[in-house]
């Protein structure tokens, strides 16, 4: 994940508009790329997207606010999305939630002090046959146990620490 400080958003967004198109229908693609690259879409970037696509900045930010996987405020380098819907819930997702919360020392909706992890719930992610499941950024982890959840976090911590 890249830092946002000092980024020339005009240039960044221009390149993305070139890739996706300079029309409103390119909005989701551009926002998703920014989200992947920078972990969020900051207001300055949103304004450049609006200018590039000929739409209002308000439109850009209201679209971001609609989709769970887009955000305008920074989150952790790794966003842990634990599925809370029925099959995962029945497979004791609460135990996984507790393990994650204890391991990271944060509640759901919070980010660790080192900026490495954010804990979030998500709705059914289509892994019901291998419940409970979670996404970490876009990587899927299934058939979780409290132990495996802790190990997975440890793995990312090592990776993030190195990066």
């Amino acid at each position: 994940m890249k830092a946002t400080a000092g980024v020339d958003w005009c240039e960044v967004v221009d390149a993305l508009a070139e890739k996706h198109d300079r029309k409103p229908h390119a909005l989701m693609g551009i926002l998703q790329d920014l989200q992947m690259e920078y972990g969020h879409v900051c207001p300055d970037a949103q304004i450049e997207v609006a200018l590039a696509l000929g739409i209002s900045p308000t439109h850009v930010s209201d679209v971001i606010s609609f989709y769970h996987f887009l955000c305008s405020e920074p989150k952790g380098q790794y966003v842990v999305w634990l599925c809370q819907t029925i099959s995962c819930d029945m497979a004791d997702k609460d135990q996984i939630a507790k393990a994650l919360s204890d391991e990271l020392g944060i509640s759901f909706g919070e980010t660790t002090g080192d900026g490495l992890f954010t804990l979030e719930y998500t709705n059914c992610m289509g892994m019901c046959d291998q419940a409970p499941a979670m996404l970490v950024n876009d990587e899927v982890h299934v058939s979780l146990t409290p132990d495996s959840a802790r190990e997975i976090i440890a793995g990312y911590r090592r990776e993030g620490g190195l990066g």
Partner: protein, 606 residues
């Protein structure tokens, strides 16, 4: 589908509640019911806006389907359509929707500016809501008082999105959007900015389209009461042309009732020391702005200078903020003339104060405007050329009506009276400033005569090409047999354009940027649909039918006035002879009557 399109407009028979009706194919169930006097409750529907079908209060039964459909969106194409507008399940669904909205709607109705004119309150009355089955929700928002024009109390918002749609569809501003989703969704600005920081033109179309009191003007009535009641203050009021054709609606008169004489009486009764007509300054604007145009044409055609053409009008403060925000590189196209409100204010605390021997410090200048953006304009820092804030307070039509009611003045029964001198008489040309195209028509009446020495060649001086509600109108007038001093204009076809509503202004500016306006000399742009008569400070509701009625009132009053051309206003001529002695666009008028603009853009300030 294609067959349906071809058939739109033909008459078909439909059944509503067991009765047969004839309807225009392709019209909505709501339109058919309205035409036939069948009541359908609505909240998100507005004649100015595209149907959204989101509040769902207008649900009806179509052909006995398992679910209900919204009357506002359902177009009738099938001649056999059977519509039911009341049944137990319809009543229950509507009542559930209404109670859900009421439980979320926080605020005391008796302190609400829209008390008595609130669409939600009206429905609560019709449905006899005495208590709610749902627990009331807690307030979620702090009121936003940051803007100098518009006050937001989002706890009163019912999320009909009429403000969002007006801001997008009519105004192409996009100041407002919907954020979040589900029960957490809310109407808000970019990144939740306060309204003063948001990309907002202050036009007030959001206010004019709000069914409740969630959006309203920033109140100036209390300050004006204080000024009127202060014996030390000399309080003058100016009234914009569009008020007289609309304020009667606040007192139950039909739209299009001209109440000029009653309004001046009411203002005097209210305690204003002088009641003046902004139209005086509108006449002045025509002389200044017309002269500016002729000077620009001279510079371009004779001196080959790089002056910006087309020249674009600058009377509408919503439009000014729009161009400053969205086309900051093109502000040089704007006429440097202040709006009539601000010209008037500057003269009030200079010329008038000097003539009357009044200390400008003890003067309070109030203007009565159909507009919320005028509140913003009045407090722009550069609007103090008299050495004081030129205009102290701006009241909307609605605010003024409320004050008249509060004072207990029997408005409809009042006798007519005249405006006070020395700014009493004004021309019909100034009066039509209130309608889209009016500034252009007034300017042409004067400019043509200055250049040719003859009246404009139209019957009764009515330049019909400038009239009507088409989004962007163009026209031209050929200058022939011009006077010697204007010989460079001989044979020139003066091309003009007129736009109203910022969405149309947006189209004009995009075309201008593409070079498609290079042969046009003069463009009038008004921020609000219909011009000032449809302003954001006018009585609610405002719709096209009401705009047309107000326009008719303005144009017929113009025809009845003895003076129809701005350059024949004797007070304006007196002013140029005794005060602005170096003439239109001269040094003194530049100091007092002209201004400059702020290229704002909307990138965030670092």
């Amino acid at each position: 589908m294609n067959e349906q399109v071809r058939e739109i407009g033909t008459q078909i028979k439909v059944t509503i509640n067991g009765e047969e009706y004839t309807a225009r194919r392709g019209s909505t169930v709501l339109e058919i019911c309205e035409d036939n006097g069948i009541p359908i409750p609505t909240l998100c529907a507005h004649d100015d806006l595209k149907p959204a079908g989101i509040c769902r209060i207008c649900v009806v039964d179509i052909n006995g389907g398992w679910n209900l459909e919204t009357a506002c969106t359902w177009e009738v194409h099938d001649p056999d359509t059977v519509i039911t507008t009341h049944s137990p399940r319809i009543r229950r669904a509507r009542r559930a929707i209404l109670e859900l909205l009421l439980a979320e709607h926080c605020g005391e109705c008796y302190t609400c500016i829209r008390g008595g004119n609130c669409e939600l309150e009206d429905l609560a009355e019709i449905y006899g809501v005495r208590d709610l089955r749902f627990e009331r929700e807690d307030p979620r928002f702090e009121p936003d008082t940051s803007s100098v024009s518009i006050y937001r109390d989002m706890d009163k918002c019912i999320q009909c999105r009429r403000c969002v749609r007006a801001c997008d569809e009519l105004q192409a501003v996009g100041a407002l959007g919907v954020f979040g989703r589900g029960p957490e969704s809310r109407v808000d600005t970019f990144e939740g900015m306060s309204f003063d920081e948001a990309v907002c033109t202050n036009c007030g179309q959001c206010v004019a389209h709000c069914p409740t009191g969630a959006l309203q003007e920033i109140d100036h009535t209390r300050a004006v009461w204080a000024a009127i009641e202060d014996p030390e203050k000399h309080v003058v009021v100016q009234t914009a042309p569009a008020i007289r054709a609309a304020i009667g609606e606040e007192f139950g008169l039909p739209p299009g009732t001209s109440v000029t004489g009653r309004m001046t009486t009411a203002l005097r009764d209210l305690g204003f020391d002088r009641v003046f007509d902004t139209n005086f300054a509108a006449d002045l604007t025509i002389l200044e702005e017309g002269t500016e145009l002729l000077l620009r044409l001279q510079a371009a055609l004779v001196e080959g200078k790089d002056v910006k053409l087309p020249q674009i009008t600058s009377c509408s403060p919503g439009w000014i903020k729009y161009i400053e925000l969205f086309y900051p590189d093109l502000v040089d196209h704007l006429s440097t003339c202040k709006s009539p409100q601000q010209m008037f204010g500057a003269l009030m605390k200079s010329f008038y104060a000097e003539e009357q021997g009044i200390d400008p410090e003890k003067m309070v200048t109030v203007s009565l405007m159909p507009c919320t953006a005028k509140k913003f304009e009045a407090q722009r820092p550069e609007m103090a050329d008299s050495g004081h804030q030129d205009v102290d307070y701006v009241l909307t039509t609605r605010e003024m009506a409320q004050m008249i009611k509060e004072a207990g003045i029997p408005f409809t029964q009042l006798k007519d009276s005249q405006y006070d001198e020395p700014f009493g008489d004004a021309s019909g040309a100034a009066l039509i400033f209130g309608a889209t195209g009016g500034v252009m028509e007034a300017a042409l009446r004067t400019a043509y005569e200055i250049v040719t020495g003859r009246e404009v060649p139209f019957e009764n001086l009515n330049i019909t090409a400038t009239r009507g509600f088409e989004g962007f109108k163009t026209g031209s007038i050929v200058l022939e047999d011009v006077l010697d001093e204007w010989s460079f204009l001989e044979g020139v076809e003066l091309k003009f354009g007129i736009a109203h509503g910022l969405a149309n202004a947006h189209e004009v500016m995009e075309r201008l940027r593409r070079g498609e306006m290079d042969d046009v000399h003069f463009i009038e742009i008004m921020a609000c649909p219909g011009g000032c008569l449809g302003g954001g400070g006018q009585p609610i509701p405002t719709t096209d039918v009401i705009r047309q009625a107000r326009a008719n009132a303005i144009y017929s009053e113009d025809e009845g006035l003895p003076i129809r051309k701005s350059h024949e206003n004797p007070h304006v001529n007196y002013l140029y002879e005794h005060y602005l002695t170096d003439g239109p666009c001269g040094h003194r008028s530049h100091e007092l009557l002209h201004t400059e603009y702020t290229p704002r853009g909307f990138r965030l300030k670092k």
